[in-house]
Symmetry: C2
DNA sequence: TACAAAAGCGAGCGGTCGCTCACATTATAA
DNA sequence: TTATAATGTGAGCGACCGCTCGCTTTTGTA
């Protein structure tokens, strides 16, 4: 297993711009041409930089992709934490609706990139791709524990695991498909149904 | 888009064995070495066959992988249909438990292969990889419609979509992770919790 | 046994890929 | 200004890839 950390840290303004251009180009190429076409030569070309420069800051292709993955999932996590921060006091139905909306918003942030990363890049950095999942589970688990006496499930770990993956997968599949389920994303059908799933699991009724 | 159908149909016993050996070798290499290492030369070598022979029956690498995908998902579908066939009359809690068990069994059939196909091969034949999902949705939809008056959701398409993807994703993630959630697979924790999720969504209570 | 069809072979072609390295250019410090 | 470090360049190496094609071997048929 080769190192994944940058070979060299950008010290001057110029090189910081190069570094950013490379990450941006990787994102662009992944989105527009897919993982298989995303050769390092192609990425360097799109970044307006030589391959040599690329390899000054990234030891290999994997590190390049991981940088993109981390940047993306950090954004998602930040968004989730922002909208969920002060939810501890809210009544459960409100909290669930907010949570589901946050998950929907996360998938809407950059659906194209999200799709490529999940479909084609998952195997590169499993650890990195699932940072978001893990953080979501932590947040849900904490919430469930704080509302232990209002909530049916008593195994919070398992409940958080089940809930997060269920919600994530349903949203993800809806984003992937371009046909009917996209419509259910537009109008509130899917949101309503996911909330019902979660609420009935937690309370036995969807209010 | 190149053709994906075999170039030549095996007519003699000998060639049918070659054909099968190639598909089996593809499966083995995918499982043991992953998609990236699964070159056609390597597959031919493992099959004990020359590359030339391989290309007599498969027009390109994609066709090879699709053959494996279809064989696997046909097995899953057959298994699902067998255990679900005469479930129309069963009370809902029993039916749900049977369905969830069938999904668990499907993922237990060849977890390694399932994992590689979902993680690394999804983008090759989206249409083919999701045959199983689509069939499961059809079956669930039909069941819901037949029990319309006993069940809370009234949009059967959406409900089937949500249920199948939720159940599938939770099981899939549990199979992927090698740590704690594997234990929840062994003892009945996960099965019980997934049943609860589905039952409360359908009935409002898990009985 | 003779012969055509079917099946099997594998060196190697044309191409792409990840990545290196000897060198050129630009910024910083003395 | 000049020495030194930081940054940037791109031709091209070695490895591997998917795939072809001229050829040999095996099989079914007469």
């Amino acid at each position: 297993m080769p190192t994944l950390k940058p070979r060299k840290r950008p010290k001057q303004q110029r090189s910081r711009e190069t570094y950013d251009a490379i990450v941006a180009a990787t994102t662009r190429v992944l989105k527009r041409e897919g993982y298989e076409k995303a050769s390092t030569n192609r990425i360097a070309e799109v970044a307006g930089v030589s391959v040599g420069s690329l390899y000054q800051y990234f030891p290999n292709k994997q590190a390049l992709v991981i940088a993109v993955v981390e940047r993306h999932s950090d954004q998602l996590i930040a968004m989730l934490e922002r909208t969920i921060a002060d939810l501890g006091a809210a009544p459960i139905p409100d909290a669930v609706r907010t949570f589901v909306r946050a998950m929907l918003a996360a998938h809407a942030l950059d659906p194209q990139l999200h799709r490529v990363l999940v479909q084609q890049v998952m195997h590169i950095g499993l650890e990195h791709t699932r940072k978001f999942d893990r953080r979501a589970q932590q947040l849900v688990r904490a919430y469930l524990e704080a509302h232990a006496d209002e909530v049916l499930p008593d195994d919070y770990d398992t409940a958080a695991f089940v809930l997060c993956h269920a919600v994530d997968a349903v949203i993800h599949m809806a984003v992937l498909e371009s046909d009917a389920s996209a419509a259910k994303l537009e109008d509130g059908t899917l949101e309503r149904e996911i909330c019902a799933l979660v609420l009935r699991y937690l309370l036995g009724s969807a209010d």
